[in-house]
């Protein structure tokens, strides 16, 4: 490994300014007290003080709650279709948490598979992810059970580790290496800094106390697919709202709808959720009209179907669904309670 760099926390604004020349820099921000990744205002770096993780997962920056796909107008020759202008921002996301970066890798698979999704992929293209290791994970976090960790750098370009007054900077990808090379104001890290970072990573790992066992979970879920009693029990307190799916960093279901305005019309894509009965409702019947079927779909999609199709569980253990659920429906409890194969 090459020698790493470091930067003083008070100089963060300097490197963000440099990066802003080339990129649209997104940092953890608050809007109406709801945190999300949003464009850096160019000055304030206080966002770092309270950033544990954002309410909006980073997916919202690539796959927003709603987006216009194209618009159309009718004239004498008939309909004219105008695709939404491409998003040409080159994004740099600063202080993305390892779980959210891993989630993007999962979304990449889904949106690249078969027909490519131009909206997601055009925004995602050339994005630079600056990861920030967690030193204070939530009690709802369970990344270490999902193949990640508070310092997992697999899917970021540059990894930052909080070593007190400074961040240790590790180049992870080629893009990361290039960016570090042309960034000014970085200092060489000392052996002691690297040792400190190693210690921080170890301590953080142990701070994630929520653990689940996902061995053979796909097989166990397949075996209990028809176990209505189990699924009814598990789903009893679910209120079928969309919070856990909308704010899940790996959920990517959507709906497409048209709208007409005075002069033109447009087709929009918006988030949709398998928790809603209307999601699968057809005029004559609904294959998932009952709550237990919907909860089963949610759990099985993440832990059985997605792994069957892509070889990876579609959950990164960010814990948002547990933190934000109005009734404290806890996916880790569900996974732990899936019956053993008899």
């Amino acid at each position: 490994m090459s020698t790493s760099k470091k930067i003083s926390k008070k100089d963060i604004g300097k490197i963000l300014s440099q990066w802003s020349q080339e990129f649209t820099v997104l940092v953890p921000s608050k809007e109406g007290n709801v945190s999300k990744m949003a464009r850096w205002d160019g000055k304030d770096t206080r966002f770092m003080d309270s950033h544990r993780n954002t309410v909006h997962p980073v997916k919202a920056n690539f796959f927003p709650p709603m987006e216009e796909m194209f618009s159309f107008q009718k004239n004498k020759e008939g309909y004219h279709i105008e695709p939404a202008p491409p998003d040409e921002h080159k994004l740099l996301i600063f202080a993305i948490r390892p779980c959210d970066a891993n989630a993007l890798a999962i979304l990449d698979m889904a949106f690249k598979d078969g027909y490519e999704d131009p909206y997601y992929l055009s925004r995602r293209k050339d994005t630079v992810l600056i990861g920030l290791g967690c030193t204070n994970p939530y009690d709802s976090c369970f990344c270490t059970s999902m193949g990640g960790s508070p310092s997992d750098s697999t899917n970021v370009d540059i990894m930052l580790t909080d070593i007190g007054n400074e961040f240790l900077i590790e180049e992870i990808s080629e893009a990361g290496k290039e960016l570090v090379a042309k960034t000014e104001d970085l200092q060489e890290a000392k052996k002691a800094d690297e040792a400190k970072a190693k210690k921080v990573k170890e301590t953080s790992y142990d701070k994630v106390t929520r653990k689940i066992d996902t061995r053979d979970i796909d097989k166990k879920l397949l075996a209990c697919f028809e176990n209505k009693d189990y699924w009814e029990k598990v789903s009893a307190k679910c209120i079928s709202c969309g919070i856990c799916t909308f704010l899940c960093p790996t959920c990517y279901c959507f709906d497409i709808n048209d709208d007409s305005f005075k002069k033109r019309g447009a087709r929009f894509r918006s988030w949709d959720s398998c928790a809603f009965p209307v999601y699968t409702r057809m005029p004559m019947e609904n294959p998932r009209g009952e709550k237990w079927r919907r909860v089963r779909q949610k759990v099985c999609h993440k832990f059985e179907f997605f792994p069957m199709n892509f070889g990876s569980i579609a959950c990164v253990g960010c814990g948002r669904c547990i933190r934000l659920c109005p009734v404290n429906w806890d996916i880790t409890q569900t996974i732990e309670s899936v019956p053993e194969i008899t």
Binding site: F261, K262, K263, R264
Partner: protein, 142 residues
């Protein structure tokens, strides 16, 4: 200024088929003069009008909404208009609180024989709506 006075606010009227619709008809056949800017939806009873309809009309860009039914005690279905009264009372108050001008939410009792009253109501509402801005509440789209 002249242009402003020429402006014709769009009004959507939900008229009860037993009284107000007939009243509007009478206003027409008896050549009562009233502004031609009201579009009418005939409803079986003013009680059919869900406040949702009123809000949808505003969403669609109508400047004002008129819900009109039979006078109290005259409802063909005994109590429909009483229910309308309660519903419209809270709808008007609530929408005003959210930020909708009260002039946009209108209600009236017009019987089948009150062609004159109908013309008068529409004239008055039109005048009031002319005094406020056109409805751009929901309208930030082209």
């Amino acid at each position: 200024m002249n242009q402003e006075s020429e402006r014709k606010p769009r009004i959507l009227g939900f008229l009860c088929r037993w009284c107000s619709y007939a009243g509007a008809d009478l206003a027409g056949t008896s050549r009562k003069k009233y502004p031609a800017n009201i579009e009418v939806i005939r409803v079986p009873c003013s009680g059919r009008v869900d406040p949702l309809f009123v809000i949808k009309a505003l969403r669609l860009g109508f400047d004002g909404v008129l819900v009109s039914g039979c006078h109290p005690g005259d409802c063909h279905y005994q109590t429909g208009n009483y229910r309308t009264r309660r519903r419209m009372a809270i709808t008007k108050k609530f929408l005003e609180y959210v930020g909708v001008e009260p002039e946009r939410i209108q209600a009236s009792w017009v019987s089948a024989s009150e062609g004159g009253k109908f013309a008068e109501v529409v004239t008055k509402i039109t005048k009031e709506l002319k005094e406020i801005e056109p409805n751009r509440l929901f309208d930030d789209e082209e």
